[in-house]
């Protein structure tokens, strides 16, 4: 092997505290090193050209670049050696900037350490092998999980791009949280007027196959070739026949069902269509409350249904589809605010959540847009909004900012004044967080034009006082305690990952954080990718965000899916595990631990062996560390490569 070593000055970033010329001189003595030089900026165009030229001139078969972190420039140098005719895996980097020059000033020690790191890279490189990606055929279809605004946007963009889309939504209608909103900030546009047409587009798009009231049962396969089983929950209504006329919902005798769409701000019938603009506009029976289903007595809806769509015998149905990519857009839910016992913990009827308030504001809501407080239906005059209920509160394990509450609270304060001109809104806040186009102006308008009184401080307790609620809190700016007699208290409850998100993540084999939010591939650079190839994220499932950000991420995820599936085949990353069939004894420890199901048992002339599905393997190397005889090796990080690095440091 003939290795070229390039020691980067990175201007003075490295050269300032590392004797790069000395490192290059040391490198020249290392095994198989045919050429070693220091270079001003290895990553610059002339720097890369110098590498390419050296490869050709010195007939190099491998390159070590000692510069910044490989997390930064490994792809850059891979491309450079590839241009020079080498395989892109015949390069190793020694991180002598982040891990040497920037963390110590002792030039001698740094030079020694840099030399060691270069030596480790050289020893590893000597065992690098040419790796060639495999081509895998793909199914050009995208699964979108979640029919909120992010999912809708992703589905529409994918369909627009000519891709087939399967959308799965667990509620009977798509629309998500946005369909429950009355207006949107900062323009006070009607939410359903904005969202409605998009929902209709989904229904009408030939490329989109919509499964509502359905959930993802299981996912197998791998990028380009997922197989998804969808559980279509039984609505006890044959949706092929249901016209959405709504007669059943008028006649249903049980009107005390929990109204999910209205966040419990009213009740509904056992058979219902969640809201007038529902897509699809089909009736669903609530099996928990339907008298026919609970005790077999009733059957009114079946009698009145003009199309004979009611079917009490209906059962869940499993449907299997093949897709090439998945967009997870499962959105968010609200944290359980009843942990705040000081706010009544659900005991006081007139302490409601902001989404409940949203339904009170909505013309299609239970009060037809009249603000009536839940306890006695009276129009409230003094309304207290409390922000950061379950956000930025370490004491209950919710240290993060939900991001959108400041804005919707300002919106609700404005709308309150619109609905009840003689009302007074009080907003207890910690900080007003309104970074966004026209956002800060909006919160100002709430205070300045609509007279909402903003109090910087937390509420310590709410106690009933007659038919009012006494809200005690601090105004930290005035430096005093305040007490407000409120008719209604609205809590800006913080969000958390949608219920069931971790379970879905397990099915998708993607990571999630301790709040259940899905982990993106890279915080900065891969915000919609995940660590499972072919699975992308859109909307609040990745982290709480407002509508435009969700829509943007929906489009971004669609773009990623479209890009991924733009070709008939995919290139798999060849840094995968591979089995030495001569040495494998088929003990099965590898396939038992593989987090991705990428290893399966196979029969080779009567002997059991392990087989790696290269397209599924993500290259974690857990199997490699598990296999007792080392018959399964992770390419590019083989045992011998790691041992070579260790020995380079330790041989004594």
């Amino acid at each position: 092997m003939r290795i070229g070593v390039f020691i980067c000055h990175c201007g003075s970033n490295i050269a300032g505290t590392v004797d790069v010329a000395q490192v290059a001189a040391n490198a020249a003595k290392m095994p198989d090193v045919a050429f070693a030089v220091d270079t001003m900026y290895a990553c610059s165009e002339p720097g890369q050209q110098a590498i390419e030229e050296a490869v050709k001139q010195h007939k190099l078969t491998g390159v070590v670049v000692a510069s910044c972190s490989p997390r930064m420039h490994e792809p850059t140098f891979r491309r450079a050696v590839e241009r020079a005719g080498l395989n892109r895996y015949m390069i190793e980097m020694a991180n002598i900037r982040e891990q040497v020059s920037w963390i110590g000033k002792d030039k001698e020690a740094n030079t020694r350490k840099a030399t060691d790191l270069v030596h480790m890279a050289v020893e590893k490189l000597r065992l690098n092998r040419v790796l060639i990606p495999k081509q895998i055929p793909v199914t050009r279809k995208v699964l979108v999980v979640g029919g909120g605004v992010a999912g809708i946007q992703a589905a529409l963009d994918c369909a627009e791009g000519g891709m087939e889309v399967v959308m799965v939504e667990r509620e009977p209608s798509i629309g998500g949280k946005m369909s429950k909103l009355d207006k949107t900030f900062p323009t006070i546009d009607c939410s359903s007027c904005v969202l409605g047409p998009k929902m209709v587009d989904v229904a009408q798009n030939d490329h989109i196959d919509l499964f509502t009231y359905s959930e993802v049962e299981s996912i197998t396969g791998y990028v380009g070739n997922f197989e998804v089983t969808i559980r279509k929950k039984a609505p006890y209504v044959d949706w092929e026949k249901c016209t959405g006329c709504g007669i059943c919902t008028e006649k249903c005798p049980n009107k005390k069902s929990f109204d999910r769409h209205n966040e419990g701000m009213g009740t509904t019938t056992s058979i219902n269509i969640p809201f007038p603009q529902a897509i699809p506009k089909k009736a669903t029976i609530n099996a928990a409350t339907c008298r026919k289903l609970v005790d077999g007595k009733c059957g009114v809806c079946a009698k009145v249904c003009p199309s004979g769509a009611i079917n009490y015998e209906q059962e869940d149905e499993l449907v299997t589809v093949k897709v090439g990519a998945v967009v997870a857009a499962t959105g968010y839910d609200f944290m359980d605010w009843t942990v705040y016992r000081e706010y009544g913990a659900g005991r006081y009827k007139d302490v409601i959540t902001s989404l409940q308030y949203e339904r009170l504001l909505s013309a299609s809501g239970p009060t037809e847009g009249h603000i009536k407080r839940p306890s006695d239906g009276k129009e409230p005059k003094n309304i207290v909004f409390i922000q950061c209920v379950g956000s930025r509160d370490v004491s209950i394990g919710r240290p993060y900012c939900s991001g959108f509450c400041c804005m919707y609270t300002a919106k609700q304060a404005i709308l309150t004044k619109d609905h009840i001109p003689d009302s007074q809104s009080y907003v207890f806040y910690m900080d007003i967080r309104s970074p966004g186009k026209a956002y800060d102006e909006f919160t100002r308008r709430a205070q300045e034009e609509y007279g909402a009184q903003y109090l910087r401080g937390r509420v310590s307790t709410i106690v009933p006082l007659g038919d009012k609620l006494l809200v005690r809190g601090a105004d930290t700016l005035a430096g005093q305690q305040v007490e407000i007699e409120a008719d209604l208290v609205v809590l800006a409850v913080g969000g958390e990952a949608a219920h069931g998100a971790p379970q879905l993540a397990e099915k998708l084999r993607i990571s999630y954080d301790s709040y259940g939010f899905f982990m993106e591939g890279h915080v900065k650079l891969k915000p919609v990718e995940t660590n499972t190839a072919g699975v992308f994220l859109a909307g609040a499932c990745q982290g709480l965000k407002d509508i435009p950000a969700s829509v943007a991420q929906g489009s971004a995820a669609a773009a990623k899916a479209l890009g991924l599936l733009s070709k008939d085949t995919l290139e798999s990353d060849p840094q995968t595990a591979s089995v030495d069939l001569k040495r494998c004894v088929g003990c099965g420890k590898c396939w038992n631990v593989c987090p991705f199901g990428a290893i399966r048992e196979m029969d080779m002339r009567g002997q059991i062996k392990a087989e790696v599905l290269e397209a599924v393997c993500q290259g974690c190397g857990l199997c490699n560390a598990t296999c007792p005889q080392g018959a399964i090796q992770l390419s590019h990080f083989t045992d011998n490569q790691v041992l070579a690095e260790v020995e380079a440091l330790c041989r004594c």
Partner: protein, 365 residues
Amino acid sequence: MNAQNKFISRAKLADWLKELSSRFEVWAPRKEGEGARSVVVYRPFEAEKGLELDRKPTESAKHTMFPRSETLFNFRRNLVEGAPSLELEEAADPAPRLVFGLLSCDARGFQIFDPVYNGSGTNGQAKDTYYLKRRSSTVLIVKSCSKVLSTCFCNWVGGGPASTEGADVLATEVQDGFLLTPVSERGAAVLDSSLLAATNSDMESAAADSQTKAAAALPAAPDLKESQSALLGKFDNAAFWQAESSKCLSCGACTYLCPTCYCFNISDEAAGYNGVRLRNWDSCMMPLFTMEASGHNPRTPKMGRLKNRVGHKFSYYPSLHGGRIACCGCGRCIKSCPSSVDIRRIVTDAIGFTETVGLKEQNNG
């Protein structure tokens, strides 16, 4: 040989060995390990670590002549102005050695090595210089056995408790010391020490007596002449070998304790530019011994390997070396076998002699 027999008392033995240490790297048996785990091994002599001459050594003295691991040569690769270069450097010649207290079977073991390592296979074209250098410069002082174990069968293969084959000096325990009989010139040369005393006729007769007694204690030896053809005749008898090998673990305990097993492996170890080509003990009982790069292995099942070990000793080797059996009957492979595989039993089973040699109570199933 005109040299005189000599006597060394146990009390002076260590001093004599120390004296010899100025001329030789002296090796002798000593005890290692604690309690029930203790074993007797041949090690470079260190007076303070003692000698163990009462228990039979657990391991053979093979490694004193044929190290478990030895350097064939060092190599150094380099790039000189971009051009590869290579230097090879042969290992240094070994220092003269003296092994005290090896058993007569151990010494006879080297005689199995001799023709092979002296290039018999290539008509002397390729002689194993490493072995020959050691063999030429090593003095063997054999201690005759006064006791016989149930696993001993040196008499089956032409040996005896006081055989001098391969020995330079024979030491026989008498009174409170050893009667030293020079067997070769170089043996005689090491007996030239003021620490050694002259012998008397009591000693001489006691020694002769002890040797005779030990020889008599050995069980009757079957005639193994037929083993050559009998084992070849059984070569394709899978049922025979399967039964004989069922309990074999396929480990190397037998071959590594054996004074006559001489198989080795050659492997390179390198760090950076520097490397070393080693010759290490290997065992035909190990599954990978004959594994080819293609994955093909002519001796995949363990019975093929046991067959080779027994076959080599009692058939193939004798066929190449004038009928000499490549086993010295020390019985270590039997005594230390984890599964009590008994090579005597396999050979007599093959010849059909088992009943006649009193091994019938054993059952290999």
